[in-house]
Symmetry: C2
Subunit: 341 residues, 2 copies
DNA sequence: ATGGAAAATGCAAGCGCTTACATTGATGGA
DNA sequence: TCCATCAATGTAAGCGCTTGCATTTTCCAT
């Protein structure tokens, strides 16, 4: 009897240990409510049967999943990897599981994935950046799923965000570039469409130029996707401009790595002839040569704080505070004075 | 009435459109079984109510989740990113969702995550490499969850695998190294404990040495974790050996990048004084200088084929075939003849 | 018109769990 | 000795969906 080949259920455990399903459930979820002798017997049965609770059933019954969803634009490069890893570790410590999907920078895919994660009973959601349609937020509202934005910081926006001021950070770097004497500035940006981080970084550069009396319209700007290859292509184009830029500021380290590769290929020496800067300070930045002058983003710290805040929100202990993470410039040598005329 | 603030259910939709829940369910899952007029009405209600099916309930009722789980050792670097991205894309095309977790190379964590994914009703599982305790496989067996191994290939093992021959690929590279004239060979390997890929790569080098009449015991071998920093440290140690190795073969591109960085730091020129090789051919390999001579692994192809095979298994269309993916050497310049004495 | 097959829809039984409430049995103070 | 109290456990009602089977409707050949 009971020789079916399928996974054991709560009921099986209950029978095997001669108690009710309620008691088994309590053994697993609030052991202190069950007397020791019973508990031992039950846990023994759990072990011998190799019982694992059916998650879907738990979610349905308890209306709680201890699952947090995260939707990142891409897993294809390391930009989000480190922060997300820390986010996950922190969640695990608090008994939550992380579900990740990547949207390939496509708002439609992202919308779909948000629905999926909500349908899966995610207790909370981590999103990247604020830029998305209002109906997405309305949907989250209706389903009462707390959400948090990361990699971006804007205390006036909803949802709350744990991140850094992209514009300010890039502005600081731009200031440093200008102070070094550069006047012909180029920028390779990630696509700004639907990407507030990319937008803000461009803005940071423009503002710094403005503040230093440079014509912001003179910025040679190329937008492209965050791929090494694309960075290389863009750099190639920029080099045929006249006057040729003396510095190429990149929207992130990936693009910068592409730019460096292309420079090498073209026999342009960095930083002697052209300076190049990055953003993010992922591992790549240290490994290319010359190593990148870039903006260091404390990804782990961000991941950790985001996790804590989101858990607090999920558990009703916080209404959602925004947290600003400090970035800092890292000088590694890919930025120098422009060459003499 | 019905003014509760929570998400709409099938029942709500049924009432709103004046049909039974069965009909609504059918509208969503097998529309052809419902007459057009009804269907339109129902779908309209779905839209206005903003209904999303409750996933947990679906899984419970249908005992099917259209979810595939993948557990990778790490998200922290790009080794698995590309293949996994393709895996996911392929799954999506077939209507499946991917759930990813990373185990941090810890078998206990991995075991836990396998349980989690199974409990979540994953229809199938993608694992990396074959090396894990038998009870894990027994558990999967009992729960009848089809699983597939990737990044590794061994047609004689269960579960079936879609990957490449790590030993053979590394052996080929080693052959190339030896043919170039190197006699003092060093290797920086990933930790081989519980990592059959790392083991196989070491084995590939040893075998090639043996086949070429070199003493396999003379291989200077350091094991460490797959981090740039660790690669640098290991390289540093190897350089103080005597006789100094003329080539450092690395277990993957990440380690090789670290080695190159350290070489640069120590003023050792690559490949003039010491050659360095990688494995994987991730983007990093093209960006460092000199660009890495490495083994190209067609990650996307592997991801795609793995997805197809696993889906076939899940849908009962395949018993599980193993598929071998071809790798190839990529010569980029970090490997040259050893320097003259 | 009319019977009957086929198409469309409804009914209701679960899926495996949690939990409010009910029941049982000790325990101890009056 | 008796009953209020409390700890331990059991009972059973859902959670929101799918689906086998029953019922109703449609439609056509007669």
């Amino acid at each position: 009897m009971g020789k079916t080949r399928s996974a054991p259920t709560l009921n099986d455990v209950a029978k095997a240990s001669g108690v009710s399903t309620a008691t088994v459930s309590r053994c697993l979820n609030s052991p202190e409510r069950v007397i020791e002798t019973t508990r031992k017997r039950v846990l023994q049965a759990v072990k011998t049967l190799g019982y694992t609770p059916n998650f879907a059933a738990q979610v349905m019954a308890a209306n709680r999943s201890f699952t947090i969803g995260a939707i990142i634009p891409t897993m294809d490069n390391a930009i989000f990897a480190r922060g997300l890893q820390e986010f996950q570790d922190q969640l695990r410590e608090s008994g939550y599981t992380l579900l990740v999907s990547s949207s390939a920078y496509d708002p439609e895919v992202e919308r779909e994935q948000i629905r999926t994660l909500v349908a899966r009973g995610a207790d909370g959601l981590l999103l990247i950046g604020h830029a998305r349609d209002a109906d997405v937020y309305a949907y989250l509202e209706r389903h009462q799923v707390p959400s948090l934005v990361a990699w971006s910081y804007d205390p006036h926006m909803h949802p709350p965000s744990v991140g850094f001021g992209n514009a300010a950070a890039m502005g600081e770097l731009a200031q440093s570039v200008i102070s070094a004497g550069h006047r012909h500035i180029a920028m390779i940006s990630g696509n700004t469409q639907g990407n507030d981080r990319a937008q803000a970084r461009v803005e940071g550069v423009l503002r710094a130029m403005d503040e230093n009396g440079l014509d912001a319209n003179s910025l040679a700007l190329i937008e492209t996707t965050y791929e090494i290859e694309k960075g290389a292509e863009a750099f190639d184009q920029l080099m045929s401009l006249s006057p040729r830029p003396t510095v190429v500021m990149c929207g992130n380290d990936v693009l910068a790595a592409g730019a460096l590769r292309q420079a090498d290929l073209m026999g342009i020496s960095v930083p002697e002839q052209v300076s190049v800067t990055g953003f993010d300070d992922i591992e790549l930045a240290e490994v290319v040569s010359p190593a990148l002058t870039t903006v260091h983003v404390p990804h782990r710290e961000m991941g950790r704080k985001a996790a804590r805040e989101l858990i607090a929100m999920v558990e009703g202990k916080s209404e959602g505070r925004s947290i600003c993470i400090d970035t800092r410039l890292v000088n590694r040598g890919s930025l120098a004075k422009p060459p003499r005329q």
